[in-house]
Amino acid sequence: MQLTKFSAAIKPLTLAVGLFSTANAVAYNSIDDFTGIRTVASNLRTSEYIKSDDRLDQINMLINEHRFRDHLIRWEKRTMFLSSINAIIENEDFQTIVSMGYQAVPLIIREIENHPSTLVWALNLIYKQKITNDPKATISDACKQWVKKLKI
């Protein structure tokens, strides 16, 4: 999540640099044409770079989502009939989801919003806290409260 924010913050700067070089390119276009230096081409590369940066973000998001879903399905399948909290949490796929950290959070939120479940324990492990100390709170209540707190 922090990485995503960082790359989002750096984009306006990249755009500014891109626009600045575009302005220069327009001014010197005729010279470039004459001298054969293809500044415009380099500007195309800049805009391609910006586009590719966006695409990289999207691709990373898709890869994360795919990875998350893969582990989620396997975890659900392998722990479907268990009651033991330790066995459910110590499952390898659940641990991988937890190790994805903040990158997994929006995906977990989306999942528990639609299907309240013990997946909420992944948020407990990522944030190292409970959402409520109400002893009567159910898993369903906790899911609703996490969604309310973290849904963007």
Partner: protein, 160 residues
């Protein structure tokens, strides 16, 4: 019965093969991962009840059972916890008018408790299968196998 129900039953039978021969096997609830077998043995469907094994102190929606004290999953601790609710060890699963019975299961060759099932008023049994559905089964032995191991004991208490 819908195609989806049949698919779910097949999936359950894969994990509990004896159910294939149980003509009383039925799904009795939708998938719901907000309660588990121990809660269901108490006839509750809104909490996840399990001993506090000490590993995870900040999990939402868990009712450490029978108290917050750290316990392992030895079946003796489960028996003691059901004792606190008035259950006593009894001989077998036969239906007795005026009593509610439960069965406790352990992993084969160990005393590690894996599951609890409860007798219904019609004499059949009901189990909440972990995060999955709850089901009706003819006898407590129909869900023995690799998943839950074997029945360790039966307990009963008066039921009005």
């Amino acid at each position: 019965m819908g195609e989806k129900t049949e698919d779910i039953k097949k999936q359950i039978i894969q994990a509990f093969p004896k159910l294939a021969l149980d003509s009383y096997f039925e799904l009795t609830s939708p998938y719901n991962s907000c309660y588990n077998c121990i809660a269901w043995a108490y006839n509750l469907d809104n909490r996840w009840m399990w001993p506090n094994t000490g590993g995870y102190v900040f999990l939402d929606g868990i009712h450490y059972w029978p108290s917050d004290h750290v316990l392992d999953c030895n079946v003796d601790n489960f028996i003691e916890a059901f004792n606190l609710k008035g259950y006593i060890i009894c001989d077998g699963p036969d239906f007795e008018e005026g009593y509610r019975k439960i069965a406790l299961y352990v992993a084969k060759g160990t005393k590690e408790c894996t599951h609890a099932s409860r007798q219904l008023n019609n004499g059949f049994w009901t189990s909440k299968l972990g995060k999955s559905q709850d089901i009706q089964h003819g006898t407590p032995y129909d869900i023995e196998g690799d998943s839950y191991g074997e029945v360790f004991c039966f307990m009963k208490r008066e039921h009005k």
